[in-house]
Symmetry: C2
DNA sequence: TTGATTAATGTCACATTGTGACGATATTGT
DNA sequence: ACAATATCGTCACAATGTGACATTAATCAA
């Protein structure tokens, strides 16, 4: 789990979006309609570059789209807002986390289960680091992006809260599930921040450290 | 600390009227220039009413301003964004928290000090409850407001992180201060959520409960 | 009363974000 | 060639937010 999605390769034009109507007959090589002129991923990379060069606010969507040879209207068909372009795939990660939590053995206590799920979903490569850092820097310095982060984090927190609620028999919006969901995210974000500022070290190590911290009531590292 | 400011006194510059607009003592030699046509507080109350009635997005700033007999330009002179109108005074609360932390005896350990500071800054009256709930509901349901919350919370978190850094000799953006700042906010928000959903109970009680939770590594209430 | 000073407002023009409607274009299937 | 379909582009538009400049309403000094 990177919290700030590393996004894989995906340069090809994947087949997606099965229509609502017409049922789901799958046949080989059927790809109807005009092909997309660009991919969300390409727009993301362009955005990353332009935002880093000129700044988020100084980069208009029109410029961004033009760099991908599309119009701004096309951009807004793929992304609801300008900020959304940097949050590609985050929803997928949340879904991954939810699945990971669901597949942890019931024998394992709920907090260790959360720890295990978070660590299992955490996959990234060293090659992703520069991009991650660029995104990270933007998200932590541009107000509009910080704001957009809140919406994504909410979904992540709720995933944890739902799991805790399920395991403890409480409601999602009772004190314990709420607090655990939010503090767990808080810890992971802290780990992520520290890790991404370093030049070495495994994210997983920092995550464990942060989770130890909250599990022990900040007993660790308190020297 | 309410996290979602209850908007206390007027803080008007010398104007001490009881109304929202401030009463009219017209004599007395102070304050030059054209007097404000409205107050931030009045705009906030109007916004609260209109947002609740019509929804945040469906309410234009122009309507909002018109209800206070000013133009939208005046609104945007008092508030940077449309969402800001609901965050009156939050910055003041953060400042209060910072002062409270600074004035806690050095003999008290840093986590108890945080607890004490948070509780000491927490002041609200039963009369504020309806307004707090309306604001709360808006902030937790309208994406634009959720997003704006992130920016406010950041300042709050940093206040805690700075204090922990100061007390431990670490840097603000090292793991422990970061995680403590964020988890403390997470806990207080959880307490606030639960409290504002109830019809009875003291916020302070919930705050203590939530802080116990993180201090003990979720040992409390884990039955 | 008159005029200078001051602070806030109003007006106007404008860039940008984001959306709805509709027609144009490119690809696959018959 | 022709139909079906998915995406694109163009256009019109509402709303947020900002900069520049004029206007208004108050105090202070004469």
């Amino acid at each position: 789990m990177t919290l700030i999605n590393a996004a894989g390769g995906e340069k090809g034009r994947g087949v997606k979006g099965r229509g609502v109507k017409g049922g789901g007959v799958k046949r080989g090589g059927e790809r109807r309609g005009r092909p997309p002129a660009t991919t969300p991923r390409e727009l993301e990379l362009i955005a990353l570059r332009l935002f880093a060069e000129k700044g988020f606010d100084a980069t208009t969507v029109e410029e961004l789209a033009a760099a991908a040879n599309v119009t701004s209207r096309t951009f807004f068909r793929k992304f609801t807002t300008k900020a959304d372009v940097l949050w590609q795939g985050f929803d997928d990660e949340v879904a991954e986390l939810r699945e990971a939590l669901a597949s942890v053995s019931e024998d394992i206590d709920w907090f260790p289960a959360i720890r295990q799920a978070i660590l299992s979903v955490n996959h990234y490569t060293a090659a992703d680091l520069p991009e991650l850092r660029t995104r990270m820097h933007l998200i932590s310095t541009v107000p509009a992006l910080q704001a957009s982060a809140a919406l994504r984090y909410d979904a992540w927190e709720r995933t944890i809260s739902d799991f805790v609620a399920h395991r403890t028999g409480l409601e999602t919006n009772e004190m314990l599930p709420l607090v655990v969901g939010r503090t767990t995210l808080a810890a992971c974000r802290g780990a992520y921040d520290v890790w991404s500022a370093q030049t070495v070290g495994e994210l997983a190590t920092y995550l464990e450290q942060a989770l130890d911290l909250i599990e022990s009531g900040f007993a660790e590292l308190t020297g």
